[in-house]
């Protein structure tokens, strides 16, 4: 599972730091951004294996970011995990349309987040 690249996006710098640390401690390569627009540029440049994005961010929101990624050839199939403090912000239809792998709510456990990342990567490798 080593050396997989994860893009972590959150406007809360402490959240980005803690998620990055947990992932790095477990052998992932991590790139980070604190807003949607920077994240999109980084995504095009770095082509990560998986994205962990906050739902509500200044600039592009998490959903707008994913819509943009899904419409960009080359990065359109990257699996996405959404991390949000809003429990009911998205319906199943939209989730399916945007191909969001997981929806995790804040507060979250870094341990569980790591497990989800590994699961999603595994299933996307199989399919």
């Amino acid at each position: 599972m080593g050396n997989k690249k994860v893009l972590v996006i959150d406007d809360e710098i402490h959240i980005v730091q803690v998620v990055a640390m947990k992932l790095r401690n477990n052998g992932f390569e991590v790139v980070t951004a604190d807003n949607g627009s920077d994240a999109y540029t980084l995504c095009c440049e770095e082509k990560p294996d998986i994205i962990i994005a906050d739902y509500q961010m200044p600039g592009l929101t998490g959903i707008e970011l994913i819509e943009k990624i899904r419409g960009t050839p080359g990065i359109e199939n990257i699996p996405v995990i959404i991390l949000t403090a809003r429990g009911f912000a998205i319906d199943d239809e939209q989730r399916e349309k945007l191909n969001i792998a997981e929806f995790l709510s804040k507060p979250f456990s870094p341990k569980e987040l790591l497990a989800h990342v590994e699961n999603v990567l595994q299933s996307s490798a199989v399919s």
Partner: protein, 449 residues
């Protein structure tokens, strides 16, 4: 009178007979005279009998007439009594009608009464306003002609035919530029034969209730989001510490301080929410004393300087030294000035300028504090809402984080607690001016005298 005459005749005839009989012994038997006497006697008796019979029948007639007269009199007085009763009943009905009208006309809900053919019998003013007709001139017109909302006309007709009380929730009405939401209750009116003779329709406007409920939902959703954000950091960093993910002492120290900072943030947030809630419900303890706004501004500027320096923003206090005492809660007004200053710094790009001024307006008898920045500015359509709870200018949310509570608290403290006034002017790209006015302490004293 006629009867008496007959009696007199009978008496005379009797007397004649007596005279004849008395004269009889004086001469020889004169049969023709005797016969004449008997004839006279007979005639007298017959006449008397006739007269008696006639008198009797007339007496009976008179008796009947008397009875008839009495009956008629009874009937007449009965009629008079009934007439009086009817008049009372009409009066009572009129009064009941007036009562009903007064009830219908004083209800703030829209009320319309229709007959068995769905023609309008009664409508109060709110009904006219809501449904768009002149309530006074629309009487007896078919509802279909009066009411644009065909769904309502159909509902009334349906519930009238089905004879059941009909309740329809959240019926939408277009009233000018606004859409009003009403709950609708239709009850059938039954006559003596249990037939439906009309319907009463009540439309209760729930637009405001819905707005408040929406605001409450937004509030809860917003608060939970704002509370969860620092909580997420606290939870994640604690778990990292528990799981020994922080390997060196320096990292551990860093984690402790993050947890501490986020816990403080959480506490501030809760304090802000509680402050607003306490002020709104009137439970806040206000400690009013004569204070100088110039001094409060000076202290606040000192407090904000280090935050401004991080963004290379200069904060200038332009306040002249004047006597500007107001009767105010010092801590609360400090919070107001700090909130305005930190907002100004927050939404001003690096290298910008924030200035603050406290001045006495003698003509208005107020102290006016104004915080002006060279920041991003606020679109004009947002200006009227910036003091609303949790309202955030969407176009500016990318510049800074916020709860949308700061300005709401400013407004509550200035207006609700101190009887002052808040104001804002702004131009997108050039900057904003936020400020407030408080009555001069001297002016308040004069007022009390």
């Amino acid at each position: 009178m006629t009867l008496n005459k007959y009696y007199i005749f009978a008496a005379i005839a009797g007397l004649m007979v007596l005279l004849i009989v008395a004269a009889m012994p004086l001469g020889g038997t004169n049969w023709p005279e005797i016969l004449a006497c008997f004839a006279a006697l007979f005639a007298g008796g017959w006449l008397g009998r006739q007269l008696f019979a006639e008198g009797k029948s007339q007496l009976e007639q008179i008796e009947n007439l008397k009875n008839d007269y009495k009956n008629q009199q009874d009937k007449a007085s009965k009629c008079i009594r009934e007439n009086k009763d009817l008049r009372l009943q009409v009066q009572l009905l009129k009064r009941q009608k007036r009562n009903t009208e007064a009830v219908v006309y004083s209800i703030s809900d829209a009320v319309i009464v229709t007959d068995a053919n769905d023609r309008l019998l009664m409508a109060n003013e709110p009904a006219g306003v809501l449904l768009g007709f002149d309530a006074k001139e629309a009487i007896l017109k078919p509802l279909e002609e009066l009411v644009m909302k065909k769904e309502l006309v159909k509902l009334i007709a349906n519930s009238r035919t089905s004879r059941i009380r009909h309740v329809k929730h959240e019926l939408q009405f277009e009233a000018g530029d606004n859409t009003l939401t009403c709950n609708c209750i239709i009850s059938s009116i039954l006559d003596d034969d249990n037939e439906v003779c009309g319907a009463v329709t009540v439309l209760h406007d729930i637009t405001r209730e819905k707005e408040i409920s929406q605001m409450k939902n937004d509030f809860v959703s917003h608060v939970s989001h704002e509370l969860k954000t620092p909580l997420a950091s606290i939870t994640a960093y604690s778990e990292m510490l528990v799981d020994d993910e922080a390997t060196d002492e320096k990292t551990r120290k860093e984690f402790y301080s993050i947890i501490q900072g986020q816990a403080q943030r959480l506490n501030r947030l809760i304090e802000d929410i509680l402050s607003i809630s306490r002020i709104e419900s009137g439970l806040v303890k206000v400690n009013r004393e004569p204070v100088s706004t110039a001094l409060i501004v000076r202290d606040a500027v000192e407090m904000i300087k280090s935050y401004a320096a991080e963004k290379d923003i200069t904060v200038e206090d332009q306040t002249a030294v004047v006597f500007d005492q107001v009767n105010a809660d010092k801590d609360m007004i400090s919070q107001v000035v700090i909130n305005l200053l930190s907002n100004a710094v927050k939404y001003t790009p690096k290298g910008g300028k924030v200035s603050v001024n406290s001045e006495v307006d003698e003509s208005q008898q107020v102290v006016r504090v104004t915080v002006t920045d060279t920041g991003v500015g606020i679109p004009s359509e947002d200006l009227s809402c910036v003091f609303d709870k949790f309202y955030r200018v969407k176009a500016n949310s990318k510049y800074a984080k916020g709860t949308g509570l700061g300005l709401s608290l400013v407004k509550q403290i200035v207006e609700k607690v101190h009887g002052g006034r808040v104001f804002v002017t702004s131009e997108v790209g050039k900057g904003s001016s936020f400020g407030f006015e408080l009555p001069l302490a001297a002016a308040e004293k004069t007022l009390v005298k």
